[in-house]
């Protein structure tokens, strides 16, 4: 027990938590934007893989880091468009389409990776985002290391939380997105194209997911491995439910999960002798299921989630 408290008090633990929270923030915000517009996006796992591969590959081929982030976002948006064509325009099952996108997007990422780097046995590396110390603030004891010596992409992730909140709740386009997830007919009746709003939301949300994936290969690690997303996308889907579709709570949930992951790495070192490491690795998945059970009765989910809108459909 005292071991646990020791871990929780180290700045290194908090620095790690804040670092690895970034992909969860991007992924959860992305899924949240899609679902606020009424579209469940189970392509997230594959789209994060695409982001991880394409951002990394951009840099590996000589591009700069921010260019890689943009490229990853663009690729994510492209797969988002594919998801939107199927679920928004053709009204097909959001569940099955999402799984199909995940299968397609991740296998295509692996294929392209192998095509471009056919014989790499040890994974090639890039120079990832470096930690960016904010002058003065990073000199603060304890807090400085945890909060103010992170990579630029981490700061971006954290800034995205209030930004997404502001856009969703304080701007006309955010109102249109939320209304599309509540009652698409109402959006259409006010002269706004529901299909366009939903398509846009899914594309933007998917871009967020892809940036989350890119963070893993470009800021957390410096190489692309097979299966490195490892269920993080599904955890984000659970986090959206846990967050009741609120960006602020999504940040809290993501921090909780990142903390768990940081803790697990450290706890393995101290308790690994007694508890097999697999049980530590299991924690995020078990916690995700528990989080969904916990929130099952409490949330007010978007009323038109999973409901396709067909223009001019005769009722």
């Amino acid at each position: 027990m005292s071991d646990l408290i020791d871990i929780l008090l180290t700045a290194g633990f908090w620095a790690a938590t804040i670092r690895i929270v970034s992909p969860l923030i991007f992924g959860t915000l992305g899924e949240l934007i899609c679902e606020r517009a009424g579209v469940l996006n189970l392509g997230i796992e594959g789209i994060m893989t695409v982001g991880a591969m394409s951002g990394w590959m951009w840099v590996y081929q000589g591009g700069d880091l921010w260019g890689g982030v943009l490229f990853a976002a663009g690729m994510g948006a492209l797969f988002g468009l594919l998801h939107a064509i199927f679920t928004v325009h053709l009204g097909l099952s959001q569940h099955v389409t999402g799984i199909g996108i995940t299968l397609f997007a991740s296998s295509l990422s692996y294929f392209v990776f192998r095509m471009l780097l056919p014989s790499a046995t040890t994974p090639p590396k890039i120079v990832p985002f470096q930690s960016l110390s904010i002058p003065r603030l990073s000199d603060l004891p304890w807090l400085g290391e945890a909060l103010f010596s992170q990579s630029a992409l981490t700061y971006l992730a954290i800034l995205c939380v209030p930004a997404v909140w502001y856009v969703l709740f304080r701007t006309p386009v955010g109102l249109a997105v939320r209304m599309a997830g509540e009652n698409p007919v109402a959006v259409e009746a006010q002269g706004i194209n529901v299909l366009a709003v939903r398509t846009g939301a899914v594309m933007v949300g998917s871009a967020f997911m892809a940036v989350g994936g890119a963070f893993i290969t470009m800021s957390w690690f410096d190489a692309f491995y097979f299966g490195m997303i490892n269920g993080r996308g599904w955890i984000c889907v659970a986090l959206v439910i846990f967050a009741s579709w609120q960006p602020g709570r999504a940040l809290l949930g993501a921090l909780l999960f990142a903390g768990l992951e940081a803790l697990q790495v450290r706890a393995q070192q101290s308790a690994g002798a007694f508890i097999p490491y697999q049980f530590f690795l299991m924690l995020p998945y078990v916690m995700s299921i528990l989080a969904m059970i916990f929130m099952a009765h409490k949330t007010k989910y978007p009323q038109a989630l999973l409901v396709p809108f067909r223009r001019g459909e005769r009722v």
């Binding site: 097909l92 299968l103 397609f104 296998s107 692996y110 599904w234 299991m282 059970i293």
Partner: protein, 350 residues
């Protein structure tokens, strides 16, 4: 754009839908093959030869199709009731765990009892694993897709722990694998040569059984009614939750049998690479079969041929084997589309 149902869908049009989807997927993969510098015709020729070109190849294709028939059936039955079980991968390993637990010496029975015993235990394990998501869905309305997906990861970690720890075979020279299934429990080979085993018979029997259930029985009727309109089903007196739970048990059970069949039929022991994603590919099988249990068999053989053939193809002309996974992913999306176009007319003007 406006979408309206066709007044009637001919059997030919419906039957051709998955064929269009496969052709589309192959066309898209042709682009990737061309990018890799291969000749498309040569590549697909090699793929076909690799899958069906010799007795050995056919034997291998059929062997690989066995788990896909099981997982394809698992997805078909569940999707019929609109219960999206994406956890066949985890249920497969649950079945394999049960086969290992009971089949490595704990119980010894004569083969004609031992094999059915292991199959039933594996099916029970698969069904039990799915009990958690299905109860969460029916009682608390927790989305089953996410819970079944997350359980896949959890089960794999449990398997990893067991075969590296308490169940590790001391004779395995350090490899993480469990002890072998005892001889009484091994599914006998069907042919003198090759790896084809009696799991195929079981898989085919299950396909027929599921077809009969869906088409001719009260239970099948209730599954279809619940999947198509749960409110109307409830109004007419069908116990919706009970039907969904029963469907889930059958679905999980079928996936569990895949695990028994792979452990006791093909490998002989449990490892972490028992399934290269058979659970996920099963979804593609079910979609290509349009959830028809009999059509699952050809769909599974087709996708198995893609995997087996692409191994041969990529060895010969240096195309990454992931091409097979791409083809599977695209075919899920393409078949969604083509089935829709077979049932609906799409006009561009309102």
């Amino acid at each position: 754009m406006i979408i309206e149902p066709r007044p009637s869908v001919s059997i030919l049009r419906a039957g051709l839908a998955p064929v269009w989807a496969i052709l589309f997927a192959m066309a898209l993969c042709a682009v990737l093959i061309a990018w890799a510098g291969g000749s498309v015709l040569t590549a697909y020729g090699l793929l076909f030869k690799g899958a069906f070109g010799s007795a050995f190849a056919i034997n291998e294709t059929l062997t690989r199709s066995i788990p896909l028939i099981f997982t394809g059936l698992a997805a078909s039955i569940a999707f019929r009731a609109k219960f999206y079980n994406i956890g066949a991968e985890g249920q497969l390993y649950a079945g394999a765990l049960a086969a290992t637990f009971f089949g490595t010496g704990l119980v010894t029975l004569p083969p004609f009892l031992m094999i059915p015993f292991l199959v039933i235990m594996g099916a029970l394990a698969g069904g039990l694993l799915l009990l958690v998501p299905v109860l969460l869905k029916t009682k608390l309305k927790v989305d089953e897709v996410v819970t079944t997906l997350l359980l896949n990861f959890i089960v794999l970690l449990v398997v990893g722990y067991l075969i590296e720890g308490p169940w590790k075979d001391p004779m395995s020279l350090g490899w993480p694998q469990a002890a072998s299934i005892i001889d009484e429990g091994v599914l006998p080979p069907l042919l003198a040569k090759g790896r084809l085993h009696a799991g195929l018979i079981l898989a085919l029997a299950m396909a027929v059984l599921m077809w009969v259930m869906i088409r001719f029985t009260v239970q099948g009727y209730e599954i279809r009614a619940v999947g198509n309109n749960a409110k109307a089903a409830e109004f007419s007196g069908i116990k919706v939750n009970r039907t969904v739970i029963m469907t889930a048990m059958i679905s999980g059970g079928l996936a569990g049998m895949a695990g028994v069949s792979e452990t006791a039929g093909l490998k002989g022991y449990l490892t972490l690479d028992l399934s290269p994603g058979f659970g996920y590919t099963g979804i593609a099988v079910a979609m290509l079969a349009q959830l028809n249990p009999l059509a699952v068999v050809p769909a599974a053989i087709f996708l198995s041929a893609v995997y087996v053939g692409s191994d041969a193809m990529s060895r010969a002309i240096n195309i990454p084997t992931y091409i097979a996974d791409v083809l599977v992913g695209v075919s899920v999306l393409a078949v969604l589309c083509s089935v829709m176009f077979s049932q609906y007319k799409v006009r561009l003007r309102a």
